[in-house]
Symmetry: C2
Subunit: 264 residues, 2 copies
């Protein structure tokens, strides 16, 4: 009966089954540690949730940043990992830091590599870098500019949004071409690159507005496909996902300010 | 005779021989494209030079940035690759962008993975990220602060240097622990993580001064060991290495300003 269930699962949900198979040596003890925000860890959370992997989503309260206590926690390698920066992944006895390295590790541990070449794996890694270092950095800069200069005039906020939109329109056509008419970037199931691009474009939409993808039908369909994956949809509906993108205490107000400004 | 030469090479220079073996399917056609600076490509250059791999070191003149013409070149995917950002690696028909992804790809193509686990590979990737996103970003920020505010007082420059030094002293003990008493971070030959940390700490020394590693004997020995590898030493002595760390036209003057300020 167990076997029959396994087989029907294998047929019904290929990527989850793959992940399960990759984990078949017994349930590993997994902790992902990051701040209580999306930032540089949300793509990793999506990948783990999508694979139905049990893990501890250990979120360091933003209070520790505001109070300055983070610097004490940061000094403790059992919290801040080998490099003193979050995110950190513990997978049984192995501990690793840095978003790209964690993603590269999970690409193998979650079975994403199956059926893919070394070149595909490099492309997944490149999408992870593009998501965090190009898209997210660029979009969070708008939050940062508006957050650190509370007296900014409406026109100046509009300019910050506009300049970010122009830069995003340098990246989006590239991503549109890479996803093409396909369901996902590299195969018939998402890999780390997909989860991170999904997260990055989602953060981008929160900041620049939903219509930022209007000219990119392939990316729009991709975003919808990702959001409708049962485990992703369930996770988002659960309210478990961090509310904030960053550690800025005034993020909600900053976003409201950005959204209230007329688009150029 | 050829065989004897190969065998003696195998014995004499294990890492080069490994790289050669990995490339044994015929010399690939390789181009690394970046700006005429060290920035986010120098670690990759060191790895290719160390392995004696033939490649075209295609350096986009900083004139294109100063004149604004880079935006025209950037729009051409045959120059700026899949993501519109440099560095870009062409390896025969395969093209990939993003420093971490290029490094991950070369880790396999140059034979670095041999004898190492998935966990080691993640650690090499994490070192690549630490090098570029923690060390280099942090150090180049000093250049940026001093470069964009030409009227900065000596005291303010001293503070920028001091604040960067404090932050570096959060990272350096971690790297010191990771390299430990070993020759290299992961095995008896350098892998991508080593080349990138070597580059990052070298850029750090240029900006913060040679004595920045004084309290870290393991890292000091590592830096010397890397600099004395025959192909690295030959490359540096050849004068082929880009003179500048960044694309800032006034970099030499900015560095001179930083170096002339008394350390706090």
């Amino acid at each position: 009966k167990m076997l029959a269930r396994s087989v029907s699962r294998l047929l019904a949900r290929p990527s989850t089954a793959l992940a399960r198979r990759a984990l078949s040596s017994g349930a590993p003890n997994i902790t992902l540690r990051y701040f209580d925000s999306r930032g540089r860890a949300q793509g990793i959370r999506y990948a783990l949730k999508d694979a139905e992997v049990e893990f501890k989503d250990d979120r360091v309260s933003l209070q520790h940043i505001i109070s300055g206590n983070w610097f004490n926690l940061k000094a403790d390698p059992s919290i801040s990992g080998p490099f003193g920066v979050l995110p950190v992944l513990h997978w049984d006895d192995f501990t690793i830091g840095q978003t790209e390295a964690i993603s590269g590790y999970l690409y193998h541990k979650l079975g994403h590599a199956e059926g893919l070449s070394l070149e595909d794996s490099a492309m997944s890694g490149a999408l992870v870098s593009c998501a965090h270092q190009d898209v997210i950095v660029m979009c969070l800069q708008v939050l940062n500019v508006v957050g650190t200069a509370p007296d900014l005039k409406e026109e100046q906020i509009g300019q910050a949004v506009q300049s970010c939109t122009v830069r995003m329109n340098g990246i989006l056509p590239r991503l549109e071409k890479l996803v093409g008419g396909k369901d996902y970037f590299l195969k018939d199931a998402p890999v780390m690159g997909d989860f991170c691009i999904y997260d990055a474009l989602d953060q981008c939409k929160v900041i620049l507005g939903d219509n930022v993808l209007d000219a990119y039908p392939g990316l729009k369909a991709f975003m919808e496909r990702m959001a409708n994956r049962p485990n992703i949809a369930k996770y988002i509906a659960s309210g478990e996902r961090p509310l904030f993108l960053t550690g800025a205490p005034q993020e909600a107000q900053i976003l409201q300010k950005i959204q209230s400004v007329p688009r150029l």
